[in-house]
């Protein structure tokens, strides 16, 4: 068994014993990532925080019967991912369809004028991707998880993950790279 898993098992023993510092360590290590992933999936900060909180509450409840072969990060992200998918289904927004072709940025000058921040523009482009593509990009690019771990969290094969990543990045290129010079100019 890997060192990470042994450390995780030890940490969960402390959580099961009510050790507050172990709980705090886990919250510090994973809360931001969980909120980030949920936010990207739901585009709703309040709902994202609810998902992250529920994931941690489930972790605390699982502590006493924690299996040493599990990794806390993968477990937490998978629970948050599934909770977010449930929420999206509840709202009736889950779709694997490609987003419709984005309007020509020049045709949407009014909106562009109001999106002065590069981050907002990138966030808006991400929001146009189907949820599974932006989840894959968030896990691999922003959370810097390995392809195996990301696939495990999304409960898909590595091949399927790679397909989502490639399609997502291609779409983002279409949405953003055409305006690359403008955006890079704003970044500098």
């Amino acid at each position: 068994m890997s060192d990470d898993r042994l450390l995780d098992a030890e940490l969960m023993k402390r959580v099961a014993a009510g050790d507050q510092s172990a709980c705090r360590t886990l919250v510090e290590a994973h809360l931001r990532g969980l909120v980030g992933l949920s936010y990207r999936m739901l585009s709703d900060m309040a709902a994202a925080e609810d998902v992250a909180q529920e994931a941690f509450l489930r972790l605390w409840r699982t502590a006493k019967r924690w299996k040493p072969e599990a990794r806390i990060s993968t477990w937490l992200y998978r629970v948050a991912h599934n909770l977010a998918i449930d929420e999206i289904r509840r709202r009736g927004h889950l779709s694997d369809q490609e987003a419709p072709d984005s309007p020509d940025p020049s045709a949407n000058q009014y909106a562009a004028q109001h999106q002065t921040q590069v981050a907002d523009q990138v966030e808006a482009a991400l929001a146009q991707l189907p949820v599974r593509q932006r989840t894959a990009i968030t896990l691999v690019h922003h959370q810097e998880l390995s392809n195996i771990e990301a696939a495990e969290i999304m409960e898909i094969s590595v091949d399927a993950l790679e397909s989502l990543l490639a399609r997502g990045r291609r779409k983002l290129k279409e949405l953003l790279i055409d305006r690359k010079q403008d955006l890079v100019g704003e970044m500098e």
Partner: protein, 142 residues
């Protein structure tokens, strides 16, 4: 260009399109081997530049920070409630259901045995009556 070179370029293009330009995000082992020298080839270089630009843009959209209230709420969920604290105080040796179920079993067993032996209670009560009333003597025959 040899088949091996073609394959190598194809592989680099796939990695750039899927994982971006930062090799730290590539699958383990994918950045090893003879891929690096191939980047100077035009086809891979154009893709590399695009992937690099997209990575830079994605980095401009950082994940949001959770609120301090959320942290506090989550950690509050780990604190045992007063009832649990009291139980831990009187039974610090583990799950409290074990001694509680032992006590419950003893109580049920006691009640069961008690209801099975009514005769002995009657005898006891009769003996107590005798003791309280004192000895009775038949004086008429004397």
């Amino acid at each position: 260009m040899s088949d091996a070179e073609n394959k190598s370029i194809e592989r680099v293009c796939k990695l750039l399109n899927t994982y971006g330009a930062d090799r730290s995000r590539w699958p383990e082992g994918a950045a090893d081997g003879d891929l690096a020298p191939r980047e100077h080839l035009d086809e891979a270089r154009a893709l590399y530049q695009d992937a690099l630009a997209l990575d830079a843009l994605l980095d401009q959209a950082p994940l949001p920070e959770p609120s301090l209230e959320l942290k506090a709420d989550i950690l509050a969920g780990t604190s045992p409630n007063p009832w649990q604290q009291w139980l831990t105080l009187i039974w610090p040796f583990g799950p409290v259901w074990k001694p509680a179920s032992g006590l419950a079993m003893a109580m049920v067993l006691g009640l069961y045995i008690g209801t099975l032996a009514p005769q002995s209670n009657d005898v006891l009560i009769a003996e107590l009556d005798t003791l309280i009333a004192g000895p009775t003597y038949n004086l008429e025959g004397q």
